[in-house]
Symmetry: C2
Subunit: 190 residues, 2 copies
């Protein structure tokens, strides 16, 4: 994977967090992206704020959605699972960030319950999507084409089912980031 590392160097990736995120997913994804030289930014409804995962892992958010964090300031948006995704649906700025990133054609990746936020952002119609099985019916009702596969890519959407799929999921995110033109030079107000 050595050839991938320089390609996504300097890319800015928003990982969305809220209370009750899936600890293992946030840890794996942030470490994997950083190991690939991407800049990981934790985006949440408020910042700097401590958010606690289902199993107790603490993440301190870097920027608040709608304040420092806008879709234009990231190369990709990643939505981890856990019941955090349900909580994020309640926050307009989080939903707006996802919708704007999808509309801008940036890679938007969601795993487990993360695709709930894609439903709220009205981003799944006619798209092939996978997700945690309990919400498959919600994806279908939203007009999405549910598939039971470790990772599903359709346009700029990347989705996975569960933590077991993390390796394939993160590889797909890194591949997508490597296709994003370089030289992004964002100014971010905190």
């Amino acid at each position: 994977m050595a050839d991938v590392i320089p390609i996504i160097k300097g890319k800015r990736v928003a990982i969305l967090v809220e209370q009750e995120f899936e600890d293992g997913e946030v840890i794996f994804l942030s470490e994997k992206l950083r190991a690939s030289s991407a800049a990981v930014v934790f985006v949440a409804p408020s910042a700097p704020t401590q958010y606690r995962g289902k199993h107790g892992h603490i993440v301190t958010s870097d920027v608040a959605a709608g304040r420092g964090a806008h879709a234009s300031t990231f190369d990709a948006v990643v939505i981890p699972g856990g019941y955090a995704a349900d909580r994020m649906r309640m926050r307009h700025a989080m939903v707006d960030l996802v919708r704007e990133a999808v509309e801008a054609g940036k890679p938007v990746a969601a795993i487990c319950y993360g695709p709930q936020l894609l439903i709220s952002a009205k981003a799944v119609r006619d798209k092939m999507i996978t997700c945690w099985p309990t919400i498959a019916i919600d994806i279908k009702n939203a007009g999405g084409l549910y598939m039971d596969k470790p990772v599903v890519e359709d346009g700029n959407l990347i989705t996975s089912r569960k933590s077991d799929d993390l390796a394939a999921f993160s590889d797909a995110i890194i591949r997508a980031l490597s296709r994003v033109p370089n030289a992004s030079n964002y100014e971010v107000s905190p």
Copy 2:
């Protein structure tokens, strides 16, 4: 309310439980129904099994869905909130129990996230429904007519938004039970 008590005496009400149920809702509803002389039966994917609420309250299930528990053995089905509802969607026997009760015209009541199970049972199309706000979009995508009211009744469906609505919710359940003909005399195999 003294006139209500004899009317639902002997009625059998299934309260559906799974891990991470909303403690306050299960406690309030079971106490209120028992105070009205209804027989409360805790139905879960397995029984007898201990299920733990979000805040640590333990409920031991009485009968397992699909084994002792069928829609025909209850006068009403109540689906409390919490992430238990999400877990129940994964259990075919729980979804089947709800669908059969809805189809049999029995009162089926769901609060908070409970209506997620109504989506899985394909019971919401063209029905007026309320629910926890994060899943309102899922109700609409399933063809339901979402309303933001403490309690919404449409045919045999009774729905509420959150724990604050429990008084109105339980009153509506008891009113609906009082309209169910008496002399139910069920045999239940454990």
